[in-house]
């Protein structure tokens, strides 16, 4: 009788919980195996489309295999860089530390080293607050045409409309700064 109570009291809850966890984990593994290839394919297609949007005259891109810049370890760093096959410019993908964690952005730079566009492709920031920085035209288009940022400090007043009041604005500014540095290190846009 005591053994039965002991089983009911201590063993059964553990066994049931572990069994449910194992079944759920298996179901997740199966779904992941099916969905992940499609997710990776979608992400690659979306990245290619964004590169084309940032450099519309490019006729394809080749990945840069050299050294990628890091501004702050694990916080602000270049993820990849692609040069246009016809030499019209470079698109740099930067990961930058924002309010909700790492924010992924792409920066297009043309032959003259001027920014052609900035686009945020992934983020975990509060929608409607920090995201105003890239939903509002002024914020992102304000970087267009700039060839050099004086510093990583967004409050130095070089860029109009970006005040640095939100963490996202600061993160975007650092990302753009690092992208320009990367293009410079690659020998300038070709």
């Amino acid at each position: 009788m005591e053994n039965k109570n002991f089983y009911k009291e201590y063993i059964a809850p553990v066994v049931v919980l572990v069994a449910i966890c194992l079944i759920v984990s298996t179901a997740l593994a199966v779904t992941y195996a099916k969905a992940n290839p499609i997710i990776v394919k979608n992400a690659k297609a979306a990245a290619d489309q964004t590169r084309q949007e940032l450099l519309p005259s490019a006729n394809g891109f080749t990945e840069y295999k050299g050294k990628l810049d890091v501004l702050e370890e694990n916080k602000v760093f270049v993820d990849d860089a692609y040069t246009a096959n016809n030499g019209v410019g470079t698109v740099v993908t930067v990961e930058t530390n924002s309010f909700g964690g790492l924010l992924t952005m792409m920066v297009g730079v043309d032959q003259q080293g001027a920014i052609t566009g900035v686009k945020v492709t992934n983020h975990s920031d509060t929608p409607g607050l920090g995201t105003k920085n890239w939903n509002s035209n002024n914020m992102v288009t304000t970087y267009k045409g700039i060839t050099k940022l004086n510093s990583t400090n967004v409050k130095d007043g070089q860029v109009k409309y970006v005040s640095g009041a939100s963490v996202t604005g600061e993160a975007l500014h650092k990302g753009v700064y690092l992208a320009l540095e990367q293009v410079k290190d690659m020998g300038g846009a070709k």
Binding site: A12, V24, L28, A35, G100, S124, P127
Partner: protein
């Protein structure tokens, strides 16, 4: 009788026990994702899918789950379904996934799902629980769509991204923000309560008020 009560389980969640407007559960995603109809519909359907599946599974395992660990077991089941829905959305509807993004994982802690698991699926059989999940899911989706339509129309002048109000008339931007969401939520809730409440009771209340006023008038006259 059984058929009638099953129909009741299905229809209860739509108006009478609407999870949002009557039970006032799941308010956070309601306010956050109803800036447009599409977002509301996406959030409503994904929550409904998780709700139906979790209700079925929780009802099926209710007899083997010891009472002590029932809440962790429910959370594991619900989190599992949410992750599955998240991966499917990311793979097949990437645009909707990026629009809802942050709010999808939050379905795990949605009070409606855990609430129905504890209040209903825990005590009823699989079919009844599935019907309750469908009804509650429909009620939640309907509320989100109505709120999304109102906010999108007045806030941006569009419906399903088609312009309805001419661009020359600026939208009321506040409706795109959380404060506007609260306002619309209150209005929709008041409307549902007005139309679904027993009117005879309202008349009774008015009658009592009238009696009170008459008594006050009499007192004044006597004075």
């Amino acid at each position: 009788m059984a058929k009638e009560s099953r129909l009741k389980y299905l229809t209860n969640g739509i108006i009478k026990e609407n999870p949002n407007l009557v039970l006032v559960l799941g308010t956070c995603p309601t306010l956050a994702t109803t800036s447009s109809i599409i977002n509301g519909l996406g959030m409503g359907l994904s929550t409904a899918a998780v709700l139906i599946c979790s209700n079925i599974v929780i009802s099926a395992i209710r007899k083997i789950v010891p009472d002590k660990v029932r809440i962790p077991c429910y959370i594991v089941v619900i989190a599992g379904f949410v992750t599955v829905v998240q991966m499917i959305m990311q793979a097949y509807t990437p645009a909707l996934y990026s629009a809802l993004g942050l709010y999808i994982p939050l379905i795990v802690v949605n009070c409606i799902i855990l609430g129905r698991a504890e209040m209903f699926a825990n005590k009823h059989n699989v079919i009844d629980s599935a019907l309750d999940g469908i009804g509650m899911g429909l009620g939640f989706t309907l509320t989100l769509c109505i709120m999304g339509a109102i906010r999108e129309l007045i806030g941006s002048g569009t419906l399903l991204n088609f312009r309805v109000i001419p661009a020359s008339i600026p939208g009321m931007n506040i409706l795109n923000l959380a404060s506007g969401g609260f306002f619309v939520f209150g209005c929709v809730m008041a409307a549902v309560h007005y139309f679904s409440k027993d009117k005879s009771k309202i008349r009774d209340n008015v009658g009592e008020a009238d009696l009170f006023r008459e008594a006050q008038d009499l007192k004044k006259k006597e004075a």
